[in-house]
Every structure is written in C-alpha cells, then in structure tokens.
Amino acid sequence: MWTTVLVSGITLGSFYTLVALGFALIFGVTHTFNLAHGELLVLAGYVAYWLWKTYGISLLFTFPAAILATLVVCLILQRLFSRLREPMEMNSIVLSFGLAILLQNGMLFFFSGDYRLIRVPTFNQGLHFNTLYLSYGQLTLLALSLLVIGLLYLLMRHTFLGKALRATIQDREAAALAGINVGGMGVLAFAIGAILIGLAGPLYGCVHYLYPTAGLQATLLAITITIFAGVGRIRTLILGGWILGFAESGAVVLLGASWRELVSAVMLITLLALRPQGIFEREQ
C-alpha cells in the first residue's frame, strides 16, 4: 500500500510542482498574486478537451492551442496589473480574483457546468513490478513534468535571460541599477508563466475532472508550494510539490478521497502562521 502512496505521491507531487511553477515565477518577478492561476489552468484544460473531443486531435498537439489561450489572457492580465496602484500585492489579489470570476463564468458559458475528463485509453494500461503498479498515465505525467521543470531550471541557471530573471527576483532595485529592464522582465515572467500553465492545463484535464470552478484547488496548491519554497528556488519548489503530493496521497489512503481537498488548505495556513511576515522579509 505504501509503495502506491510513494508512487502516486511522486507523480502527483512533480505535477503539482509544474502547476506551481508559473505562479511562483510571476509572483517572484512582479510581486503580484495571480488568483486566477487555477482558472487559467482549467481554461487550458478545456481548450485541449474541446480540440480532442470535437476534432479528435491527439493530446500532444493540443498544447500549442492551450498555450496560446493562456498567453493571451496572461498578457492582458499583465497590462491590467501594470496599471494597479499600491498596495500591489493586495490589489493584485482583488483584481485577479475578479478575473477568476470572469473566467469561471466564461467557461460556464462556453463549456457548460458538466464534468469533463480527457480520456486517453493507453493511460489506463500500465506496468507491474511485483506489488508496484505504474500506469502509463502516471509515467507520462511524471516524465513531462520533470522535463518541463528541467528545461526551466536550465533556462534560469544557464542562460543570460535566466540570470536577469533571477536578479530581478532577488532585488528589483539593484537589478534595475545593473541595467536590467525590470518592467520587461515582468512581461517575460507572465509570458513564461503562461507557457507553463498552458503545458500543465491539458495534463490536468487528464487527471482531474474539469468544471468551471475547479480552479480554486489548483490555485491553493500553487500558493502553498510557492509560500513553502520562497521564490526563485526551483529545487525547493520540487520538494514542496513532493511533500504536498505525499500528504495528499497519504490523506486519501488514511482518511478517504473526500479529505484530499483539506490538505493544501491546512498546509498553507500552517505555513503562513509560521511565517507571518511573508516571503520577502525572510532574509533580513
């Protein structure tokens, strides 16, 4: 039983890290909270579902369309955020909350309130190793998540652009003094964030049911992992994702599937209670 928890914890946890990456990047660079994160993810899932269902396009080829959808919304959101007044963190929460409501109702209008799932037949088959069972779905999820996380790690650590992004995350004023276009980095963060959400969304539609208000759970887990890791630390983000994945799988086994939703909420409140001054003040 515990090997099942281990396997599903790692797969789910890696996927959660992928879900959180976009949120963490946008938050780190621009200091804004995007509460519409989960809704964007569900939107990307719906775009993939719609292409898969009506045109029979295979999952792999739905990613570009999903990314395009999230990119458009994210860049609009970035324009709106850039017009906000202080306090930025608080106002960005209110604004993106409004966007979340807009997106929920838009999706309700276009895709109805029915529960949708992208069913890939091969995903339910799998490999047996003694007591351990790995479905192809889990394998795909794990491989794709780790691949995208790895690519982002390379971008952040081994390119000049990544260096500029990390500098902006660490200290915006110093980065500006060093000649980094901080505003441009903000746009870039939203663009990369949108690509990450667009990649995670269709996968989300394969593992979770899609419905217009499904986004809140994804938003909560993205916030939880981001607060756990602080910003700009991809390795800590993975650790946070795995802990959350294990905790959720454990809760499902011990308490039942209906308690799963509680895990990320309790973890987030605990983290905030332990670190009440927020993320940025930690090092001082």
């Binding site: 909270f33 509460l35 709106l80 017009r83 906000l84 007044r85 306090p87 963190e89 608080m90 106002n91 960005s92 929460i93 209110v94 604004l95 909350f97 409004g98 966007l99 979340a100 409501i101 807009l102 997106l103 929920q104 109702n105 838009g106 309700l108 209008f109 109805s112 309130g113 208000t213 809140l216 909560l220 916030i223 939880t224 607060i227 039942g256 209906s258 308690w259 939703e261 509680l262 990320s264 909420a265 309790v266 987030l268 409140i269 605990t270 905030l272 209670a273 009440p276 927020g278």
Partner: protein, 338 residues
C-alpha cells in the same frame, strides 16, 4: 472662482449623500406596493437585502483595511448551525439564528488564532484557504450534517402575532421581504454606531497607519480580533436567515466561493471605508444582475461581478459611494482631508 466651484460641487455631494439613502429607504419600504406584489421582484429584492446585510457585516472587518476572502466559512457555519438545531432538536428559529451567529464567531476565533498576525495579502490568502476546513468537515460528517446530500425541508421563520395582526414571514413573500428589510435596518444602525464608536475610530486609525496607531496606545490585535468576531457573528446570522428563507442547504452552496466573493465585491465597489456604500452596491448590482444579465445569459451571468470588481480596483479603489463621500474621511497617511 475655482473655490466657488468646488464648494458648490461639495454642496451637491452633500445633497446626494443625504437624498440617496432617504430615497432608497422610501423605495424599499414601499417596494411591495410598487412591484404590485410581483413574486419575482419581491424575491430578487429580498435576496438583494440579504446580500446587503452580508456586505455590511463583511465591512466591519473591511473598515480596518483587511480583505477577507473567506466569509463563506461564517455564512455556512451560521446556516448549518441554525438549520440543524431547528431541524433535529425542534428549537424555534428565533433562538437558533443567534446561535448560528455565535458559532460563526467561534469559528472566527479559531481563524483569528492562525490568521490575525498576518497582514494584507497574506491575511487574504489565509482566509481563502480557511474556508476549506469547515466546508470539508461539513461535507464529510455525514452523521451530523448529512454530508453532501444537504439539508432539505428546513423550518421557515415562524409568524409573529401582534394582537389581531398576523405577520407571516415564511409563508408570504411580502412577510419575508419586510423581515429581511427590518434585519438590514437594525444592522445598519448597529454598524453606524460601531463605526462612530471608539472601536470604529481605532479600526480606521490602524487601517491608515498601524504603527502610529499602536504608538498612540491602540491595542491593535485586540481591535482586529474584535472586528473579526463581530463581522463573523453578523455574517453567521445572515447565513442562518438565508437557510430559513431558502429552506434548503448544501455544503457546496453555503460554503461556496460565491458567498466569500459577493460581500467583498459589493463592499469594494460601494466603498470599503463608508457605512452605506456596501449595502447600496448590493441593492443596485444584484437586481441589475438578476433583471438584466440573467435573462440574457442564463449560464455565466455572474461575469458581471468579476467585471465590476476589476473596474473598481483599477479606476475607483475607494468605491462609488466612497468617491461621493470624499471629504468626510481624514487620511492620516497623507495628512490631508481627502
């Protein structure tokens, strides 16, 4: 010349500030007559009034500068407490409705334990997550709450007999309407007294500059807790009334994001730092949603709330009523009268 203009503008604002609430009150009192006892219109305005009380209650905390995204926790707790006590133990709703408020305040005390040290955005995030706790517990405690099946057949509000006059508050829509209007007016008076009391002044002071407020001897944490408890208490009472009016409850409904979002949206659009703003926003926006957008877009008409909150935070962060009432609030931060 310029000065004259501004004074006349101020005079107009003064007049609107007096005329609008009086006009609204007269219209609300006579609404059943104007609406010719049309059921649908009465239902919509009963619900609008209920949402107005929700926004008023939210704003008891909102005036201190905190934004809560988790008031559904109190709304749902109040609704379930009152519903279960009256349904299973047969207690009269008159007794169970205040108890709903008390339990909501109890939940707020637990929330306060974890969240009150948090400021600004982090407080908002914590409240957003907190709602999940009572929601999932209610959803899973089948023995007590019947879980996700929800509660049906809740007792309505009992009728009042004053001598020979029989005031039926659950059987007739007019009765329900006047009950909610009465509760709304009582809450409005209480909130007005509260905002002008030392507690209200302290909350406004700590909103403007918490460190300065603490320096002049305001016990910041005590007042923040007090405002959270009061806000939760009245939100719980509104939730309880909602249950007895709708007579049907479900965890996903009363603990849903809707009842967390709605009071925040009304309060910010109307004017967070005013007394009347949140209630007026509810009385305008909800009927607009129901009469205009609901027939046009049966699925997705609530996009309206998302759109107005985005517009408000971008172009009018002090809210419509707050904009009108400028000059009545001294901003300590800027040192000037706004």
């Amino acid at each position: 010349m310029r000065k004259k203009e501004t004074t006349s503008q101020k005079a107009i604002q003064q007049r609107v500030a007096w005329a609008a609430p009086v006009l609204a009150l007269v219209l609300l009192l006579l609404l059943p007559v104007f609406a010719r006892y049309n059921d649908y219109v009465l239902q919509v305005f009963t619900h609008a009034l209920l949402l107005a009380t929700l926004a008023l209650a939210w704003n008891i905390l909102g005036v201190s500068g905190s934004i809560s995204l988790g008031h559904a926790a109190f709304f749902g707790a109040g609704a379930y407490t009152s519903a279960l006590l009256s349904l299973d133990l047969g207690v009269s709703p008159w007794a169970t409705i205040p108890l709903g408020g008390v339990l909501a305040a109890g939940i707020a005390a637990i929330m306060g334990l974890f969240c009150l040290r948090l400021r600004g955005a982090y407080f908002a995030l914590a409240t957003l997550a907190f709602v999940e706790i009572p929601k999932v517990i209610t959803d899973n405690w089948d023995g007590l709450t019947r879980g996700s099946l929800g509660l049906v057949g809740l007792p309505g509000l009992p009728s009042l007999r004053l001598g020979s006059y029989h005031f039926d508050m659950s059987g007739s829509l007019v009765g329900s309407y006047y009950f909610v209007l009465g509760y709304g007016l009582v809450l409005l008076v209480l909130v007005t007294i509260l905002f002008r009391s030392n507690l209200g002044l302290a909350l406004q002071a700590l909103r403007e500059e918490e460190v300065a407020a603490e320096a002049i001897g305001i016990q910041v944490q005590k007042y923040r807790l007090l405002s959270l408890l009061l806000s939760a208490f009245f939100t719980g009472i509104t939730g309880a009334c909602y249950g007895h009016l709708i007579r049907y409850l479900e965890p996903g409904l009363v603990y849903g994001l809707h009842f967390s979002a709605i009071p925040m949206i009304f309060a910010i659009c109307g004017g967070r730092f005013t007394i009347l703003g949140p209630a007026l926003a509810a009385l305008v926006l909800y009927p607009v949603d129901q009469f205009i957008f609901h027939p046009l877009l049966p699925a997705g008409h609530e996009f309206l709330y998302g759109a107005v909150i985005i517009l408000a935070i971008l172009f009018m962060p002090s809210g419509v009523w707050g904009q009108l009432r400028k000059g009545h609030f001294v901003s300590i931060k800027t040192g000037s009268i706004e």
